[in-house]
Symmetry: C2
Subunit: 570 residues, 2 copies
């Protein structure tokens, strides 16, 4: 169970999430009118780490980063696309799933974060369907094994070729002694609603299920003879496109490369920066420096420069960067700087244009980024200080944190000559402001808004907060509404330092488990079950010698030696 770090290939020292189609090595994106085809064609030699090859359309994080990028680009750059055809460019194989050699050699931390990101990517495909009516049809001509079938499960419609050999399977348990952990088990039971005993048979059968039985067991939506495949795919794509409400004539915007400069202990983006000191990453978000554009057309004109979109993309990149490249970071501290009224103006602008495809996509992106924050295994803290602009969409980050502290003006003291806010730096006192967007636009994975999750016991407190939309709330008012954890004055503000020091002294694992529970009170959804029931069990298995020990199945796969199992059932 040695957990030694593997080397990134090509001399890279960090995993990068930014990419674009001109740099894809594993996917081909073709857009033809309202149909996009996303062809999986994994480059065997294009692995993210050294030491394995990506045979048979197997994937690693690098392959999935391109997939996630492609889905985002279809949404923003090709709004006219109504249907994505997800296909393989390889003969006789759709996708062999996560690369086993990669998994066998990955650290526990990488395995966990790899699965988290791939889960988010598949959730993103479903979000495109639910939020943007962008439907995905998966065409399986060959084998879809393990993560390959899990990818198919994210689609709205699965077509399987009926050729006597094309099959879907989840062979993780019999072959590798791990779970189909990229949503597989949960989508089988909760999305496809496969009968539990048939699901058991399916998930313990290495060779999987093909042909008519795959339809009968609800594993795919239809089987098609090979000779009629292209015709059937074309028809199905047209049917789905005809039903989609996507904008017909819309012209997309270009998702330009992010501007990011690495600094000594962090990075600067155009709308935020982060800095890591003593295992604490402070992310400072900057409010807009200009009012929102005058019209939706002007927003399209600004494109990826539009402040809300720019910040969402940059925040997403920063969170991912911290997640997979900075394992030692114990907590992420959100700060902000700017004019809260301007942030509210952007939120009002997006509200006013909510039927515009781009406004809708920006809001949906923020929803996904905030969900990514929710499942980030770092303690999350917000510091609401003078000069900050936690309003509307940015206030949502305060509600996403495990704890928030807000600086209250102390009583004027003759010595300080004022004492508003933090000493005499002339910044206005800290405020927090709510907007419509805080009451439903950004549901968490449990289906509730962060404020509804926060006030599970007292739903009337959501209404009380709602009545204060648009008000710049000072610390006293924010605390009275229950919007921040603690409001402290200058004198007590040192408690924040003590808290952060204490936080970094705790067991990182125990914090991960604690936060994964406390953040998600109330109902569960298929999505939240993937990150809870499924992921937590998988992470447990990823620690067990039967999977990852020297004699475990993951380590012995492909060696010709059988795994040796401890037969105890726990």
């Amino acid at each position: 169970m040695a957990d030694t770090e593997r080397k990134l290939s090509n001399g890279r020292t960090r995993i990068e999430f930014a990419t674009d189609p001109s740099r894809y090595r594993h996917w081909k994106l073709k857009v033809d009118g309202d149909i996009a085809t996303l062809l999986m064609d994994v480059d065997e030699k294009g692995a993210l780490f050294e030491g394995y090859e990506l045979k048979l359309n197997s994937y690693d994080l690098g392959v999935d980063i391109e997939l996630a990028d492609a889905i985002e680009r279809i949404r923003f750059e090709h709004p006219q696309v109504k249907v994505i055809l997800l296909r393989s460019a390889k003969p006789r194989v759709f996708c062999a799933g996560a690369n086993i050699r990669m998994l066998a050699g990955a650290t526990h931390a990488h395995k966990v974060n790899f699965c988290k990101f791939t889960n988010e990517t598949r959730n993103g495909i479903e979000d495109a369907s639910a939020a943007s009516d962008l439907k995905t049809i998966c065409v399986i001509n060959g084998t879809a094994a393990g993560g390959g079938y899990e990818l198919a499960l994210a689609a709205d419609h699965i077509m399987l070729v009926d050729d006597g050999s094309s099959a879907v399977s989840l062979p993780e348990l019999p072959l590798l002694a791990v779970l189909p952990g990229t949503g597989g088990l949960t989508r089988v039971t909760d999305k496809r609603k496969v009968r539990r005993d048939l699901a058991d048979a399916f998930c313990t059968t290495e060779e999987g299920v093909k042909g008519k039985r795959a339809v009968e067991w609800r594993l795919v939506d239809e089987v098609v003879p090979g000779s009629k495949l292209e015709e059937a795919v074309g028809n199905r794509a047209q049917e789905f496109a005809a039903r989609s409400k996507r904008p017909a004539g819309a012209k997309g915007i270009r998702l330009e490369p992010l501007k990011r400069e690495r600094t000594a202990n962090g990075a600067d983006y155009s709308t935020l920066s982060f800095e890591i000191v003593d295992r604490l990453a402070t992310v400072t978000l900057r409010g807009p420096d200009a009012p929102p554009p005058a019209s939706a057309d002007a927003m399209v004109g600004e494109g990826a420069q539009f402040w809300s979109l720019r910040l969402a993309r940059e925040l997403d990149d920063a969170i991912l960067d911290l997640r997979v490249n900075e394992f030692d970071v114990a907590a992420i501290i959100f700060k902000s700087a700017g004019d809260g009224e301007q942030v509210l103006a952007y939120d009002r602008f997006l509200d006013a244009n909510q039927d515009h495809w781009l406004a809708r996509e920006i809001r949906a992106l923020w929803k996904r980024v905030l969900k990514r924050v929710d499942v980030t295994s770092r303690s999350l803290v917000a510091l609401v200080e003078p000069g900050s602009c936690f309003a509307g969409t940015l206030a949502e980050l305060v509600f996403a944190t495990d704890r928030s502290y807000m600086l209250a003006p102390s009583l004027p003291s003759p010595a300080s000559g004022g004492g508003l806010g933090r000493g005499s730096d002339n910044k206005p006192p800290a405020t927090l402001a709510l907007a419509d967007v805080n009451f439903g636009a950004y549901p968490m994975s449990n289906g509730l808004s962060r404020l509804a999750s926060r006030f599970l016991a007292t739903p009337s407190d959501v209404d009380k907060a709602k009545a204060e939309r648009g008000t710049m709330l000072d610390a006293e008012a924010a605390a009275a509404l229950g919007l921040v954890t603690f409001a402290l004055d200058d004198i007590d503000w040192d408690e924040v330092r003590v808290f952060l020091e204490e936080r970094t002294s705790f067991s990182p694992d125990a914090l991960t488990g604690l936060e994964a529970n406390l953040r998600f009170g109330g109902p569960e959804t298929m999505e939240s079950k993937i990150f809870a029931r499924l992921t937590a069990w998988q992470n447990w298995i990823f620690q067990r010698p039967n999977a990852v020990g020297e004699e475990g199945a993951l380590k012995r796969y492909g060696t010709g030696q059988k795994p040796v199992f401890d037969t105890k059932r726990v």
Copy 2:
């Protein structure tokens, strides 16, 4: 992380679940009219294993077995009791939670099963409230730490003495680097609905919360000055008793000791037996050998001998025995023998008397036993063979399994001279029968009946099955209704052997994770979240060196040495 087995104390070789108040070492049960007082008074020297003492009302599995027994006895032996006062007999301490030395030295398998049983016991306290209107008031005079507060959380009402020192706390994370895993985190968020950031503050504060703040944060229901405690407890008990609909004049039945004889590789009870061969435990349930009694009074007269109750208690004991004493068992195979019509007659009898307290308690016990089966980490298999009596309540076990096989009559062959069922043993062909009880009386932890869980995709199939209540369904009919996984004839029946052999060849851990996912499709409840989100994360942490390694917090607690943590956040 050596996982060596600890020695049971007093020369015991197996953990026994059967007990009664005359043998309690840790609890005192006093019944006074409609109020029962359950006093925790743990005997330091009464630990289940060698090597630790149960100081400060800390507990191990042995203590919890007595608690579970006491709750059952109040329900069956003292039906007139309306309120349980849960209190400590020790000064200045309510309960210090699970014994840390016990946890630190326990095998992973024991830790997991200890938590599972304690969770079931706390769920049982809540079930007494929900199903039988038997309310629990927890009186905390002193400290309720960790599992001590988790026990309190199971109560309907928590009273805390306001004396400047009595407090509730969940110090597991800061002290031990593990979670409050006996429902603690989930009950804080989902039952008490504590605001998530306050819950974070509470669960990371070693000393906990006391006095008024404990009420403000919703951690307890009221604080009471020490001088007024007895008066307040008396008043509260009377109030709860006045609201309870428990039967006033009912006289209980005695839960006589179970009859069980150990055999060479199993055990014989009066209504079932089990036998372990090649890591497979076959549990054979026997149907009633006489019709149900003529009246509810006659049922009370039969008391613990009443077939339904006897079988429920014996099955519960057998499942628990297999769970904690037979870790090598890979699968539990349920068979049955008897007359299905008689089983249905008992179910109809209980239906007809559903307003009688004893009938209600028997049904509620079956519900809990079936839930215990659901969360048992062994592959569950049902074999429906000629001579079996899987009908009504017993059919529920078939729906609880991961897979069921039913023997179908083969075509008559001249050679066999018949071929009905399994050869020529003269048994009638296998049948399966449904009853009202299969459609709501036994919800799973997800809140659905097993048939509703089974037919998540096609609720109309539940109605189709419902229409067949009372019919003795042969294999073909049962398979057509989707009630069994596979119907096989004599010739194919060997597939069962192949399946079982294969099952025992798989990784036990992977099966545990797989089954914990596939068994619980659809919605989640607080109860199901405890066994999923909370338990799975806790089990993961129980594998992590930060908790259980030689330098981990659990191992180092009390040694004066600080734990050393791997600082990676995973």
